[in-house]
């Protein structure tokens, strides 16, 4: 690997060309580093500030606390409610786990149906899938709320779980269909010749091959659910059922004006699961996005 990717011919290049190439590489790295700093420094500052005393948070550029303190974490964890933040993390987990599993199962079934079978109206149904990708949630939100209210599901996790069991995120179905189209069918056909039915083929042949894509889907759903705010805001009213996103908003509203490090410390904790998951499984995110583009 060379720094200078601008193809330098194998024959000795004139000195001024080498210099120009070096200069352009230098400019490129400088630019990338400056932009990188702008991208990451706010997060670094956030982590540093969460260990600062309240008097130190504003008015300085540096992120290293002069008198490091855990006060923000200790007080923030307690919250102004009868519950600790642990409770809110547990609630978030309770929302995420079924949602991710339901999403993976339902989207895999539907993608398999689209990618491997012929049936009447197939083109039309696939067109509806693309249309729902572009359909703003704003339009369906109010009637959905009325539907869940009539079912008596307000202030439960059901409105957050159930749509995902019916392949509610068109984007994931679309992504899996794209993956499936790229997978050759000969293994499946061999299994069918050996007498396996379509469901056995799905479980034993297709799912193992789709696994990387399924992991991508689950990871994205994890992130989106972790960050989801409007859903819980509309459907949940008891503090004891709040996920982290709502609890954080609550702590902004109730914390007296000078207890900034509490809020910053809880913000760091709120971001931690997403950051850990992302760094452990980076390639699934990048590949998933490249496969079909993604919101965010």
């Amino acid at each position: 690997m060379t720094d200078i990717a601008t193809a330098i011919p194998a024959t000795a290049a004139p000195a001024h060309e080498v210099r120009a190439a070096r200069l352009s590489a230098f400019i490129r790295y400088t630019l990338l580093t400056v932009v990188g700093l702008i991208m990451l420094y706010p997060l670094i500052w956030l982590i540093g500030a969460s260990f600062k005393t309240n008097s130190e948070i504003f008015g300085s550029i540096g992120f290293i606390p002069r008198e490091p303190t855990l006060e923000g974490y200790v007080k923030g964890w307690e919250t102004s409610t009868p519950y600790t933040f642990g409770r809110f993390f547990w609630n978030t987990f309770l929302i995420i786990l079924p949602k991710t599993i339901f999403t993976a199962i339902s989207c895999a079934l539907v993608a398999y149906g689209f990618a491997r079978f012929e049936f009447p109206f197939k083109r039309f149904f696939f067109a509806t899938l693309i249309a729902t990708l572009l359909l703003p949630n704003v339009v369906t939100r109010i009637p959905q709320y009325i539907l869940f209210r009539d079912l008596g599901w307000l202030d439960t996790y059901l409105p957050l779980w159930v749509p995902s069991a019916f392949a509610g995120d068109a984007f994931f179905v679309f992504m899996l269909v794209q993956f499936l189209r790229a997978i050759p069918r000969d293994m499946e056909e061999a299994a069918r010749v050996d007498g396996a039915n379509s469901f056995q083929t799905l479980i034993h042949i297709v799912v193992p091959m789709l696994l990387p894509a399924l992991i991508s889907v689950m990871l994205f759903q994890f992130m989106w659910t972790m960050n989801d705010f409007l859903g819980p805001l509309i459907y949940l009213s008891s503090v004891e059922k709040f996920p982290v996103s709502l609890a954080l908003k609550l702590s902004i509203d109730t914390t007296e004006a000078f207890d900034w490090n509490r809020i910053l410390a809880m913000s760091v904790l709120a971001l931690l699961p997403a950051l850990i998951v992302f760094f452990m499984a980076q390639k699934y995110f990048i590949e998933g996005i490249s496969a079909g583009g993604v919101k965010g």
Binding site: T2, D3, Y29, S106, L109, E118, V138, V139, P143
Partner: protein
């Protein structure tokens, strides 16, 4: 293969979901937009009243204006930035993986409330951004007190999250056939020429895809203004989704809220249709016969 029923059976979850959670609610909100409905009494048909009221609703008009302004600032800014960075990253540099990751992290944390909270802090009067500005000899800016600046902080938050558009651009750039560049270089084209006449036309489908996706998303922005500015100052960041939320879930004017939602939807749809229609003129698909 087998009877067509099998394929439909696999589609069943999707078809049920489509009907119950998308199609029926979609028509339901259209119906509701012509009614008065407060969640307690049954909806009362009121014809065009809601829409007539919207025309004279100053809050709505202001909200519509700032929403359009927000979208027209944010989407081009975000896409331009994403493409610019993708082009720079497209060279075989050392540590490309590191940079790509660094730029993508903000997007992954994207919608998180914690990030919106962070934004409130770094754009505060004595916050990080103003400290940097004074550090390099500029005047500090009143970010949240001034209507234009407040909207701009939210645009900046979403521009900072250009990562997914960038990753898509990068994938498209890496798929461009290198021999085209070599041929152009032999013909004496410089880098800028190559970019304008080879790269740009070849990635127009991805530009188009990103444009549509980012636009639909920007029109629905809620978390940023809700947390960072609360819609203020002077309703300058009171985007339509905030107005819909307040009308529906605070004032329980479900009919009126549905009418606003439909206006927003129609605007998104018109712009999407215009984009699709114009794409015939500027989006290049391989296999097109171009003279």
């Amino acid at each position: 293969m087998e009877s067509p029923r099998i394929g439909l059976a696999y589609l069943a979850p999707y078809l049920i979901g489509l009907l119950v959670f998308t199609a029926i609610p979609f028509l339901g909100s259209l119906y509701l937009s012509f009614t008065d409905y407060n969640l307690i009494q049954s909806p009362v048909w009121s014809g065009m009243d809601n829409f007539r009221e919207l025309m004279n609703d100053r809050t709505f008009m202001r909200s519509l204006r700032v929403t359009l302004l927000y979208v027209f600032i944010t989407v081009p800014l975000k896409l331009a930035f994403a493409l610019f960075i993708a082009v720079i990253l497209n060279y075989r540099l050392r540590a490309i993986g590191f940079f790509r990751t660094a730029y993508y992290v903000p997007s992954i944390l994207g919608g998180s409330i914690a990030i919106a909270v962070l934004w409130r802090y770094i754009f505060a009067d004595a916050g990080l951004v103003n400290m940097v500005l004074t550090g390099i000899g500029l005047e500090p800016v009143n970010w949240f007190g001034d209507p234009v600046n407040a909207l701009f902080t939210i645009s900046l938050l979403r521009t900072w999250q250009f990562g997914s558009a960038m990753v898509i651009f990068l994938a498209a750039l890496q798929a461009v056939d290198k021999s085209l560049y070599e041929a152009a270089a032999i013909d004496g084209a410089n880098k800028w020429h190559s970019f304008v006449h080879i790269t740009l036309p070849l990635i127009t489908p991805v530009i188009f895809f990103n444009l549509i996706m980012q636009m639909v998303q920007a029109f629905q922005e809620f978390n940023g203004p809700y947390i960072i500015t609360g819609g203020g100052p002077l309703k300058s960041t009171y985007l339509l989704p905030l107005y819909i939320y307040d009308e529906a879930f605070k004032n329980f004017n479900m009919g009126y809220a549905s009418a606003i939602a439909w206006v927003l939807f129609l605007i998104i749809m018109v712009l999407t249709v215009v984009a699709f229609w114009s794409s015939k003129k500027w989006v290049y698909y391989a296999g097109d016969k171009r003279s």
